[in-house]
Symmetry: C2
């Protein structure tokens, strides 16, 4: 992006990362008055939006999906220009985005997600989940659609009954504005309160910080770097009233290669992993960045094959100048660290790419890996490191030194797993999701998904940012005791007018 100042207003333009060209459209950074009015509007909207019936809310989410689809070509073209990502990928991502919205619409329409629990006393006690209030969503650099303005965070917060204020990612403001217009149109068509959604632009950190500090903000969702997530968590902790920050901060997603699997299919595994490491320029939070294996002859076959694939990786433009610079700096630092060998590097871009990737593969002994905690840092981009252990004990020591992860992958033959049970349990304890003979990239949107792992992969391993479970981030349980039936929410009325699944507890004790 490029910034300018005129008549007291600060504005910026998007940059095409593939060409370096400035794109049309100037985006004005929100002033503190804009933040205040978005928050006030959200507070006002919450009063009515929380009372919107489930069918109307589901229709609203579906209408957002429709409006996005109606403007789909313009959205994906702008997103491609702003991100350098190919149109095919963005069309898939748009599909994921609208599917997510419809999935949450289905959840809302069915209605049991509020987990009603009734206790027919005395005292009569009934509990269900209620929305927290205005939610601030930070758009992600690497998913201009599915983790941005109308992405999973926004969809799940709206499903929960919370108004959303999006701080658009500065790398794709035009995409954000188009998607915001689609949401705006759905608000009008469905007669929703205007303040249920706002978008604010900023190419710096002022607006984000103001949103974090605002007393009306009740929760925050973020997908991005460790540094960014920790900064938000710090701001949240400094508030008079702390709020939950759901920051998904990425990880290095260790892959354990077990010896029998390597012996049997070293080439196949190497090819599979090469695809996952370089997919989308390696710019996924689930990119496998660390490969753990015992020194065996088959490992040599594996690394040779993987090195060849990495070497032949076609260059793609990286998402932003910052990501490009950071990738090259960090991957170069890694390569020159004690004991680290560069196994392969892809060729420089042939000319057109403005922020070209160079995929890199390195190798280090488990002993050197253990002596340098910096080698565990996430290198966001097409980079991976092979850690070679001399024996199982070294593998266990390496596993014990690892921090929390989004995913851990085990490549193994079923019959060699029991012998490695302890090591696999060590790795599983680090991660939100454990994958067997697959790749961690490609996060399925479904109710069984867990996207979020022990710190520092995310700020709170007890919640997921992908799948229906994501709605749980924006609600809290509330109990009504001896409340008049006609004044209870429909979800809790004795006649169960919504016909939803409820739990009636039979085993109770009196204090």
């Amino acid at each position: 992006m490029q910034t300018s100042n005129s008549i007291g207003l600060h504005s910026f333009q998007a940059v095409n990362p593939a060409t370096g060209a400035l794109l049309d459209g100037s985006f004005i950074c929100a002033a503190s008055a804009d933040v205040e009015s978005a928050m006030q509007a959200a507070v006002a909207a919450f009063e009515s939006y929380r009372r919107v019936g489930k069918d109307k809310k589901a229709l609203f989410l579906r209408t957002i999906a429709q409006e996005i689809e109606s403007d789909g070509n313009a959205i994906t073209e702008r997103a491609s220009a702003e991100s350098g990502l190919p149109l095919t990928r963005l069309r898939n991502e748009l599909g994921r985005t609208t599917t997510q919205l419809r999935l949450f619409a289905d959840l809302v329409e069915e209605g049991s997600w509020v987990q009603p629990v009734t206790h027919t006393g005395p005292p009569d006690i009934r509990k269900m989940l209620v929305p927290l209030g205005p939610v601030v969503v930070f758009g992600a650099s690497n998913f201009p659609l599915a983790f941005s303005v109308a992405g999973g965070d926004t969809a799940s917060a709206l499903a929960a009954g919370c108004p959303v204020i999006v701080k658009a990612h500065p790398a794709h403001p035009g995409t954000g504005a188009l998607v915001a217009a689609a949401i705006q149109s759905a608000i009008e068509k469905c007669g929703m309160p205007a303040g249920v959604f706002s978008i604010l632009f900023d190419d710096g950190h002022t607006v984000g910080a103001a949103l974090m500090k605002h007393p009306a903000t009740k929760a925050v969702a973020f997908t991005g770097s460790l540094k960014g997530g920790l900064a938000l968590q710090k701001l949240a902790a400094e508030r008079a009233v702390p709020i939950p920050v759901f920051a998904e901060m990425g990880s290095i997603n260790p892959v354990l290669l077990l010896p029998a699997a390597l012996e049997k299919r070293a080439v196949e595994i190497a090819t599979q992993l090469a695809g996952s490491i370089t997919l989308g320029g390696g710019q996924f939070c689930t990119k496998p960045g660390l490969i753990l294996a015992l020194r065996t002859p088959a490992l040599q076959t594996f690394t040779t094959t993987l090195a060849n694939s990495i070497r032949e990786t076609a260059s793609v433009p990286m998402l932003t100048a910052g990501i490009h610079q950071h990738y090259h700096q960090l991957s170069t630092q890694m390569t020159s660290a004690d004991g680290v060998t560069l196994l392969a590097e892809s060729a420089p871009a042939s000319g057109t790419d403005h922020f070209p990737t160079r995929a890199r593969l390195t190798q280090v002994s488990a002993r050197d890996f253990l002596s340098n905690p910096h080698l565990q840092e996430e290198v966001f981009g097409p980079y991976a490191m092979v850690v070679v252990a001399e024996d199982l004990r070294e593998l266990q020591l390496a596993a014990a030194a690892l921090a929390g992860q989004l995913t851990v992958t085990v490549m193994g033959e079923p019959d060699e797993l029991p012998a490695h049970e302890h090591l696999i349990q060590q790795l599983a304890d680090l991660a939100g999701r454990i994958v067997f003979n697959g790749v961690p990239t490609g996060v399925e949107v479904c109710a069984a998904m867990q996207h979020g792992g022990p710190f520092p992969a995310s700020t709170d391993s007890r919640f997921t940012s992908v799948g229906q479970g994501a709605v749980a981030r924006f609600v809290r349980p509330q109990a009504w005791q001896n409340w008049p039936d006609e004044l209870l929410p429909d979800e809790l009325k004795s006649s169960n007018p919504l016909n939803i699944i409820r739990i009636t507890d039979l085993t109770c004790a009196r204090k």
Copy 2:
């Protein structure tokens, strides 16, 4: 308690709060080596305890309940001597404690609480809740049994599959030691790993701080003061890897008196509230400490009746010297604040009580209440303040000024509720539980209970510390992708060998 030092060991004795007499038994404060060995034992125990089958774990919880009952007389007598609470109350509390253990045993035995969700892909993804690891529990001063060594926190953590390290409350170490012996006996009888439970004593803050800082600690449960809870939260935030702190820090539990209800039954409501304010010397986190009402003639009848009841309250010894001193200091400060009138005060104790309560009732105008945030502080003991508003607007302003609460109570006639809908929603938004025409004390142990409210009532309003839901504090979701069926936990195996309720999601999208 009274402390002494001998041969380098620091030890202390319990004090009978009713008489001031030192009680038998000397309790040695844990040294850092003791903390370390308890944590190491917990880590070792976790490896096997997490794999204990549900029926065996349920039997373990039931055996703890039995062992506590076997020693019930000694436990309640010691608890009465250490707390000054009457034996009848402690026998009830013991019943609550064992009922809680059995309730979690039932939950574990049934098995569906791990919320298995399966997605039959490809990819095949299966999710369930898994235990976090060692949990530190801080005993509470006001519930020597139900919120202490084998209380709800310990029971729910053990149910979750987490080893527990209890920091015993220094006011009732002897009770703690007896209950710990019962747990120890259950561990032996059931063949559980020794480190699944440890108890540590300390009359200061060193042991608690060491437990908070220990890298193996995965979560913390605490019931106590705002100051204590915030100190723990601060220690947790300073860790390299933050951990969840579930601190229930009490509240003033506002009671809204609506005019028609007051007009109809001022005396009845006053009598009901007097009982709740002075129950157990007012030493409950759900004691109603703030009464909000419009100035009406009926309010005069209410306050006169309540004042008479408060004046006639029999003195009971308070739990500890610290609570006694703090209560008298804070209630005296409140009484002398600008605009505050002392309406009633009970007589001083007749002689035998060592830390006697003097129940107090004050009154303040809504205007003066609004100008002094200190009047919102919790006064732990038999104290309440009536806030008199001139009109509905003043009531709304007072409600808007209130912080988060465990409970909010509305005394009203059903037909006057719609006219006060906005005010009631304002109050409901503050609280975890909202009570109609009842009292907030008496927290039912059931699946529909929510005990925990918005900050500062608790550190995390999304969790409850009472009822089956309390188990959710000590688990996180984990997903298995394409994992070999025979290596999945039984809860997720395709044949569903445990025959538990599972969700199979049918609406999924592929990233």
